[in-house]
Amino acid sequence: MIIRGDEPEQIGLLKKLYPKGNYFMQGDEAIAYGALFAGCRFYAGYPITPASEIAETMARELPKLKGYYIQMEDEIGSIAAVVGASWTGLKSMTATSGPGFSLMQENLGYAVFTETPLVLVDVQRSGPSTGQATKGAQGDFFQARWGTHGDHPIIAVSPTSVEDSFWETIRAFNLSEKFRIPVILLADGIIGHTREQIRIPDPEEVEIVYRKLPANEEEAKYPFGDVHGDLIPPMPLFGNGYFTHVTGSTHKENGLRDVYTPEVHDRLVRRLHKKIEVHEKEIQKWEEYYTDDAEILLVSWGVSARPSLGAVIEARKKGIKAGLIVPKTVHPFPGKRIKELSKKAHTILVPEMNLGQMILEVQRFVREEVPVIGVNKIGGVPLTVEEILKEIESSAERSRHRSAD
């Protein structure tokens, strides 16, 4: 049995089509190339600014790799088709932006509950509603976490640059395949439309993960059973004669619906949560800059992490002990590490392009005495180094006054 994208000829083809070296491209394009290198061979989507270039790149490149591109009639159909394709063994992806992401939420929940691997790219744009359609934002932090209904775990990753978009997309696919869970790539319109130099590697340099398949007929009988004790059931793909039943209703380990027994629902939903909690270390990823002795700790993500780093460097030049942590996996949130770092800090700043979303997660992990201050900007224009530096300086100033009192 082959999960498509795995054929040996694919490596040769990737090498030939995209020889390693430096390229100049948009974040959206980098996401598409990341998906191709990760083995994505099915894309269904609906055009929306600022994510459309992902669809355009996939439509052009997928057929070269014997992959399928299909433009669906809407976003709801797009993620539905992606779920369907994933059950046939194709690594599958869709990409959208704010309002389209809202439309996908119901079937995202379906994918969570049926443990269907897929990658959903949300190139965040300004909102609510149609908002500023062409402008970037970071307003979907909680839509990614809680957009679909019910108790559910999710994994969301967020890139900070064009090159990072390439690698984070690959990581999103790997996490999704490994843990049988939809993974959200929270990009944003600014990175999506920025052109930068990126290095395309040799396909051999890229670590690729494939979903676990049942080893035998017996394992295939339990598409939602913890047959290996690692909480991740092997996935019996359609078309293999397993007679698999998949439903978005509460189901038993054998896939059959049981919505009446409280224990069945409890057991299933708790396993889904535990599957992510137990493997948190493998899922978590963050970057740290100057955090060893940081008294002013910046926590920033996505596009805002870049001016944040600039501001930290400028602050250091002025003798201010500032440091930065950038969660790359934003859900589940690396709160434990932030808690550790916050012990040394007198102030925490959270720069983001919204009126304060990730800051709420930060606050949950920080002791009350430490002020957690948002550096927020909306309107579609990214934060600048100067704006963030100003906040660092006034925080340093306030702390000097406090210690002088």
């Binding site: 269904a44 014997k66 088709a81 369907g84 379906y110 359609f238 007679f243 998949v246 619906r257």
Partner: protein, 287 residues
């Protein structure tokens, strides 16, 4: 007990025994549809291993999922055809069948129905039209006859019903037919044809729901509803010579469309082969 009864029937070999008995009400047309579908599969000698059945939400969505013993995907409300589209692209050599109701496929899912027909993707849709939202309690549906009583049109329905078969035929499907649960043998033949035709095929089955529709509209028993189907059905050949006034309230039955045209997954794979071939041969240098 129930399992023993069901295994007496030959077609029971196609059913997921552990899921029986079915959740359908006594007298529901769903059983007839399941029986007709199983007979069509049997007569065509299709290995259920070569079959993926997708359904949405509601009574009719339960007909084949979970009861039919094949790979079955029970999806969200209205989206079965969109899910099936992904399945068919991934498994172009398998038979992909959608069985669901009128509310699911033509109400909330109407957009996917029209576009799958336009795309002409090789999916067989068996749409069970019982004029009502049955499972949620008998609310008005896009197919409820003008003037009918439902729980959300307690005085009478003032909306006009959607003509599903006609709509899908004009949207571009390869094969479209409509029968009622009274016309069982024609129905089996049509399902067989739909499964064999390359391209998008729709079999609309007008089916009785005595519990939610019949009893509120002076047809309390299943037999009364079947008699109504029998009396009011007009073959499409005859309907062609009748005026719209004469056809008011009638059920037009028969084959609406049967035509050959390029099918989506075949065209998609053809395109991929062409493009892949070009790039394998070093065609990119020619840019």
């Amino acid at each position: 007990m129930a399992k023993q009864i069901y295994t007496k029937y030959e077609m029971a070999k196609y059913l997921r025994k552990e899921a029986l008995p079915t959740a359908l009400c006594p007298g529901c047309g769903g059983g007839t549809v399941l029986n007709a579908f199983a007979n069509a599969i049997d007569q065509l000698k299709i290995d259920p291993r070569d079959l993926v059945v997708v359904s949405g939400i509601g009574c009719s969505a339960w007909i084949a999922s979970p009861y039919f013993l094949a790979d079955t995907l029970h999806t969200t409300h209205g989206r079965a055809i969109a899910f099936a589209t992904g399945v068919k692209v991934g498994l172009p050599d398998k038979k992909v069948v959608v069985i669901s109701g009128d509310g699911d496929l033509a109400g909330i899912g109407g957009n996917h129905l029209i576009h799958a027909a336009r795309r002409n993707i090789d999916i067989t849709v068996i749409l069970v039209n019982n004029f009502i939202y049955g499972m949620t309690g008998g609310q008005v549906a896009p197919t409820t006859p003008f003037g009918a009583i439902t729980t959300t049109t307690p005085y009478r329905n003032i909306e006009h019903p959607l003509k599903i078969a006609e709509t899908v035929a004009s949207a571009g499907a390869s094969y479209v037919a409509r029968w009622t649960t009274f016309h069982v043998y024609q129905l089996i033949e049509s399902i067989k044809k739909a499964l064999t035709v390359k391209g998008f095929s729709l079999v609309e089955v007008v089916s009785q729901c005595p519990v939610q529709f019949g009893r509120r509209n002076r047809m309390k028993t299943p037999a009364e509803m079947l008699r109504w189907f029998s009396k009011n059905s007009i073959p499409i050949s005859k309907a062609k010579n009748m005026s719209p006034e004469e056809l008011e309230g009638k059920i037009i039955i028969g084959e609406f469309v049967s035509r050959e045209k390029p099918e989506f997954t075949e065209e998609l794979n053809k395109l991929i082969d062409e493009v892949a071939q070009y790039y394998r041969l070093g065609g990119e240098d020619a840019d």
